[in-house]
């Protein structure tokens, strides 16, 4: 089982772009989900963004964290998603470009003001530009984090 997990994990890192799909099994917070890939659980960290932490000592930040998680649950719970791996983070999660119906979830969350662009999980330059534009739109419209 351990070898299968490792093999799946390696394959997920080396698979060509757009080749990987999985079914969302659990939403941990606004930027991390567990998915099932051929029966194996894989943890994905959304590329390019950070959502507020659920256990923030600042109540309004924690509330936004809950809102972000609720939105991800509404979007992804039980859904078949497509993802592209960009590598691993320090917690051994796969940093992933995650798509639902060809919609990049990171960009959607940033545009809705439920997450923001962060450099710790870098994306390609063109995708970073998209996140910057989405964040600017959220700021202008005073959505979520930017109220």
């Amino acid at each position: 089982m351990r070898y299968l997990l490792v093999l799946t994990f390696i394959l997920s890192l080396t698979a060509p772009a757009n080749a990987a799909t999985g079914t969302v099994r659990e939403i941990l917070d606004g930027d991390t989900v567990d998915i099932s890939v051929n029966g194996t659980l894989v943890r994905l960290r959304f590329a390019g963004i950070g959502a507020p932490e659920l256990h923030n000592i600042v109540p309004c930040a924690a509330a936004l964290g809950l809102a972000a998680k609720a939105r991800v649950v509404q979007l992804l719970a039980g859904q078949e998603i497509r993802y592209e791996s960009l590598g691993l983070d320090k917690y051994k999660r796969i940093i992933a470009m995650i798509y639902l119906d060809d919609v990049w979830v990171s960009e959607l969350l940033v545009r809705e003001g439920l997450a923001r662009l962060i450099p710790a999980y870098p994306v390609a330059k063109v995708d970073r530009a998209r996140l910057i534009a989405a964040e600017a739109e959220a700021r202008t419209a005073h959505r979520g984090l930017w109220k």
Partner: protein
């Protein structure tokens, strides 16, 4: 660099299970999907959209909700495009969203087509509907 012109024909289908939705009027847009096709124009106006934008709002003609950017892997080769609105449009029971679709290519000038016709997306009684083509995405593109 070629002049780019897109002619899109959109077909919108509300893919709800009408009977069950009507019976549960506290569940808005359950099973609702939005689907559209596109047809390219003829050369030299045969450019390709790289993405589609779904614009929605709760008031007709005022699309104040965050745009949903649909960026298909192969935007022009595998129609129809579709998304499940039950995921992308959160909202309280009974709300009506008014939506249009545009084609988009960042290298076009302007980058966005004219919008399709508006479709009111209602929670209950979802049936078939058609949505006309967004037009006039002109500009220059190397795609």
């Amino acid at each position: 660099m070629k002049d780019l012109y897109l002619s899109l024909t959109l077909l919108c289908l509300m893919l709800g299970t009408a009977a069950s939705v009507q019976a549960q009027d506290n569940i808005p847009y359950a099973g609702g999907g939005l689907q559209w096709n596109w047809v390219p124009g003829t050369a030299p106006n045969n450019g390709t959209p790289t993405e589609y934008h779904l614009h929605c709002g709760t008031v007709s003609g005022s699309y104040t909700m965050p745009i949903v950017v649909v960026r298909p892997v192969a935007p022009s080769t595998v129609p129809p495009r579709s998304i499940n609105l039950s995921q992308f449009l959160p909202g309280p029971s009974g709300i009506v969203y008014y939506c249009t679709v545009t084609a988009y290519n960042p290298l076009s000038v302007p980058p966005e087509s004219d919008p399709s016709n508006e479709y009111p997306f209602v929670a209950v009684g979802a049936g078939n509907a058609s949505i006309a083509a967004p037009t006039n995405l002109r500009g220059r593109s190397n795609q």
